[in-house]
């Protein structure tokens, strides 16, 4: 079984017909590396570490550290085998899967000496994959259109919010002015009261009776005693004397001021919320903004799951019982090249002898916004799948992928 050569029937998709070309190369070598395996020359391990006679290529003994001398056998622990998979997608498998009795390459080329009864399934796989890619492409196309709308909406929404933000900022100034004005009114109104209080305090410190400052007869009936309890009582009573005296004007001013301050706080909150919404990371083109303050539900045999994007995830028993928090919004957690593909919700209700509940949401492209599946792969760590047009990629990029797959 020395020097395994194979004649590869190379099917090149040419418009209008199919033509076959024979390319000779050692078993397991991809076309791209054919030039390194030349029959009449000693073979240089691809890492350059060693030269060996060419008849030791694919002789079922590992000579090269990098496994490059045995592309078609299982001899090297770190080797890889190239399956052409005509009709489907070419690929590499670890060379440990050559002749292990399990069909890995759809073109069956990995099982050339194991007796495994493999069927060539490449065409079928290719067809299925094309179909599903086609379907995905259609979805992506429609989804991408929807996404454009979402982006526009988000843009408008953002503009609205920004406009509103500006408005509110303006009104905030008004409110601030008003607060300042009312503060002055209030302070003026309070002045007599304050003076009275000060006097009163002095009197208090001087252990004077309240009759000297207060017109109230109720107060006059109090006497200074050494008892602390009665002192407190007296003080409280005196305050009530003051209230009785100055309530009407000062209080009105105070109320007006408080009211204005409350309004200002509300405006501040509004501003904060707007700032948050405006600066919130709804994706590169704010395409996820439409999910904000929405909720989506999915019912399983036992529970109703509820996802309120950018807010929280929860679970409620179908047949009564209280809701459990499965996590509140944490962050986008996709891989570096696609951070907006995964959402992470954290710090939900704690588990018995376990961590706090958390949920990972995987987003995929879909025409509709739907929570499609939920599972708990690890105790108290939930995984949900969620489709949204906002995830859809430009179909042109998919087309090229599809095209690639049709090649060898």
């Amino acid at each position: 079984m020395c020097c395994q050569y194979i004649l590869l029937l190379l099917l090149l998709g040419v418009s209008g017909g199919v033509s076959a070309v024979e390319v000779q190369r050692p078993r397991g070598v991809p076309l791209s590396k054919r030039q390194f395996y030349e029959e009449d020359k000693p073979f240089t391990c691809l890492d350059g570490s060693r030269n060996i006679p060419f008849d030791r290529v694919n002789d079922d003994y590992c000579d090269c550290q990098d496994g490059s001398d045995e592309p078609g056998t299982a001899a090297c622990p770190n080797g890889s085998f190239h399956c052409t998979n005509a009709g489907f997608r070419p690929g590499f498998i670890p060379s440990s899967r050559i002749n292990d009795g399990i069909c890995d390459c759809c073109d069956t080329t990995d099982e050339y000496n194991s007796g495994a009864a493999c069927q060539n399934t490449c065409r079928e796989l290719g067809r299925k994959e094309r179909e599903s890619l086609q379907k995905m492409a259609e979805i992506a196309k429609e989804g991408f259109l929807l996404k454009q709308q979402l982006i526009q909406e988000a843009k408008r929404g953002l503009e609205d919010k920004k406009a509103k933000y500006a408005d509110v900022q303006l009104s905030k100034n008004e409110f601030e002015k008003r607060v300042e004005a009312l503060r002055t009114v209030k302070e003026t109104a309070e002045q007599p009261e304050k003076e009275a209080k000060e006097r009163h305090l002095k009197a208090w410190e001087g252990k004077l009776g309240c009759e000297s400052i207060s017109p109230s007869t109720v107060c006059t009936e109090h006497y200074i005693t050494d008892s602390i309890v009665s002192l407190i009582n007296i003080f409280l009573a005196r305050l009530s004397c003051l209230d009785a005296t100055y309530n009407s004007t000062a209080q009105k001013a105070r109320d007006a001021f408080d009211e204005a301050e409350r309004a200002l706080r509300e405006v501040d909150d509004q501003i904060k919320n707007l700032e948050k919404e405006i600066s919130f990371d709804f994706g590169p083109t704010a395409e996820f903004a439409y999910l904000y303050s929405q909720c989506y539900e999915l019912t399983s045999s036992e529970y109703i799951y509820r996802l309120c994007p950018f807010n929280r995830v929860s679970q409620k028993p179908k047949y009564g019982g209280s809701e459990t928090n499965l996590g509140t919004w944490g962050q986008w957690a996709g891989p570096e090249d696609n951070p907006y593909s995964i959402m992470k919700y954290e710090h939900g209700t704690g588990c018995w002898q376990g961590p706090n509940r958390s949920t990972t949401i995987k987003l995929t492209c879909g025409k509709e916004t739907v929570l499609t599946s939920t599972s708990e792969p690890s105790r108290c760590e939930y995984l949900m799948e969620f489709t949204s047009p906002a995830v859809c990629q430009e179909p042109s990029s998919l087309d090229s992928v599809l095209h690639e797959h049709e090649e060898l």
Binding site: D60, P77, P94, S96, D100, I102, W352, Q353, E381
Partner: protein, 922 residues
Amino acid sequence: MAPVLVLWLAVCLSVTWAVDRGNFKTCDQSAFCKRQRALKPAESPYRALLETMELTNTRLTLQLINDNNKVRLLLELYRLQGNMTRVKINELKPLKPRYEVPDVLIREPPTEPLSLLSQDENGVVLSLGAESQRVIVSARPFRLDIMEGRDVLMSLNSRGLLAFEHLRMRKDTQVEPEAEKKEEGDPANQSETTKEEEEKVEDGMWEETFKSHSDSKPNGPSAVSLDFSLPGVEHVYGIPEHADTLRLKTTDNGDPYRLYNLDVFQYELYNPMALYGAVPVMLAHNAQRTTGIFWLNAAETWVDISSNTAGKTVFGKMLDYVQGSSETPQTDVRWISESGIIDVFIMLGPTPNDVFSQYASLTGTQSFPPLAAVGYHQCRWNYNDQEDVTSVDAGFDEHDIPYDYIWLDIEHTDGKRYFTWDPHKFATPKEMLQGLMDKKRKMVAIVDPHIKVDSNYKIHNEIRSRGFYIKNKDGGDYEGWCWPGSAGYPDFTRADMREWWASMFAYDQYEGSMENLYTWNDMNEPSVFNGPEVTMHKDAVHGAWEHRDVHNLYGFYVQMATAEGLIQRSGGVERPFVLTRAFFAGSQRYGAVWTGDNAAEWEHLKISIPMCLSLGLVGISFCGADVGGFFKSPSTELLVRWYQTGAYQPFFRAHAHLDTPRREPWLFGPENTALIREAVRQRYALLPYWYQQFYHAHRTGQPIMRPLWVEYPQDPATFALDDEFLIGRDLLVHPVTEEGARGVTAYLPGKGEVWFDVQTFQKHNGAQNLYIPVTMSSIPVFQRGGSIIPKKIRVRRASSCMMHDPYTLYVALNPQRTAEGKLYIDDGHTFNYEKKEFIHRRLSFTNNILSSVNLAPDAQFTTQSWIERIVILGASKPSTVTLKTADGKESQLEFDFDASMSVLTLRKPGMNAGVDWNVMLQ
């Protein structure tokens, strides 16, 4: 999960991370232990009545009398083939029969003639055959001494602790106890009855309560106890299962070691508390001799150990030595069991391997598992559904990590009804199993012995209608709480029950099962959540016997019946694989055991070594601990170190509690995935050696994972080592079990021997402590100079994919430039090896010739495997290398010599692994 169960768990399981000691008895809380332990060494009240002696060709019988109460015992003494002595003591005339353990011995042990050497009024001397071995039976007080020449090897009752609580009528409820006793009419007794010999009725003799549980004890006190003295012995081992050091400790200052199969939640380390299994076998060792004591009793048992040298400092010992005043070191052992009889096998060695074969001749050897079971097992409580199984399976391929078995815990069933599948999560089990089979992989599903009481459950109905359930003391079916809620417990002590159980594994009975589905028996102590000490009430009834008598046997029988079921379903063709948590002496015959519910802590990783070593010493070689730790979540470092350790222990399975985060090997970043992959791949590359060790253990009873002292019995430096171990004779493993370790110090044994680092091939001298710097990728493993180890270094995704792959032979030369090893090959999964369908060859290197000769010329098997490479460690550079095959053909082999490491690699010799050949270096 049923809310009731959650609630139940929350109530019955402590929320702290430690065993709730209050749930388990101390000796003081176990009435018989307290009673027996109160007896202190003194002159024994027992006297041998020499006039009753009968000596036949096979045995000696003799009556013993307790001078305090005049109750007579019958002593039987046998000399057994293979240098063993059996001592049996029962009541001469018990009120009713006392339990004698059946089914554990593989046969009635064959005897050899005893001959009388001398006799006088003080005793008799019997010859034990060769080597001047004698038994001296002393009459007053009764004691037995086993001697060789002038040395006492072992003495029985030398401290006077023989005690035998005879069965009696309950006096406090008897109307006329005295009258009845007189009527009994033994003349020897009658004359004495007037003497004051009434047994005191103590608390706990006729009834005992622990926490809220009461034990009715209808038979009253029935404990037995005997002491053994071991002169010259300072090291004793065995009596698993305990989470303790390999060398057993003295118990003077605490509780005795306890043997009582219990489901201990979050067990504590380094203490003598009982755990899931019990093997009442102790080994005693010194530089001259190894002996063993097998106490065949299945009731609750406690073992006290004391030593006259314990507590002495090294300086004190030295002082003794220089002053010449040293008394001989001695270890004294005392066994106490709650019921049954005294039936003890004294294994006289003299070598460790002799003791192993002696014990194996009594209880059998390790079952020979299918090769795949020696691979890696991926388990978790629980893989959620079929999709989960598929994706974990795919994960192994994606990350190129081999595995053979994926496991399903209790959640795979339909409501904890074993033999069924959850209809939603595992709707099409055969589809799932077929998917695994397509990848040459297998599955294990759990089948526990507690059966849900549910009239819609076939298994329950059958057991109930056949009357197979264990009964409670009032005669109804015993019911306890376990995973399914209320559950019955089949009486596995009944042969007819076991036969029925086995038949339930038939493919047409166990729906959804296929030939690549194997079984795991958990909770078989048995675990009863609401029972005393989380187990069954001792007054539950197994036919004529109480649960008290048979308790430690229950798990043994469950695994026996299950293994039998797996054998029967294939028509006796396929080897079974059954994992059990509870076990007893003899359990080695039925499969694997693991160390139960450990925790993700460094100390638990460390203790896995002595725990499995102790099991190996008493025959149970197929042992492992949950890799990663069951409870809690391991740090990444701990997980990696655990994989590295587990890869070198016989049973290699990762497992995790339901509440822990997922921990499949690829979830900790590419670097750690690579470290775990490498550890698992090292396991797979070594499978030929492992498999050969299993075959050897199956043939000889020798442990696979061995303490160093077994191979270096004269080197005291090895006697207490339990942070390193040997696999077979030839591999020494010192796993890294310390957090943040920068290095480990391994003791390499053997004066004049050498050891080779299996990664670097660096040679090290024996009889030294070697400091080995380590990184995260280090697993310190050494090959003994003088050995030949076959490996298959083409690691594939499952063991059976490697079946036809070629071998690489690692020949490690000793200073005499010789080496020897073996190669065993068979089909890997059937019993055909019993029909001589295997290849067994001796590989030896001597006089610069490496040769393969047939060790089993009458065996027949062919293999496609060939020899692809020979690596000779410690070699010098030859000028030519010639291969000569059986047909006389000679060819020159190409080779490569690494002068810096003295490693000679022969390229592609290519001969078939099953034929004769030799390779000559010139």
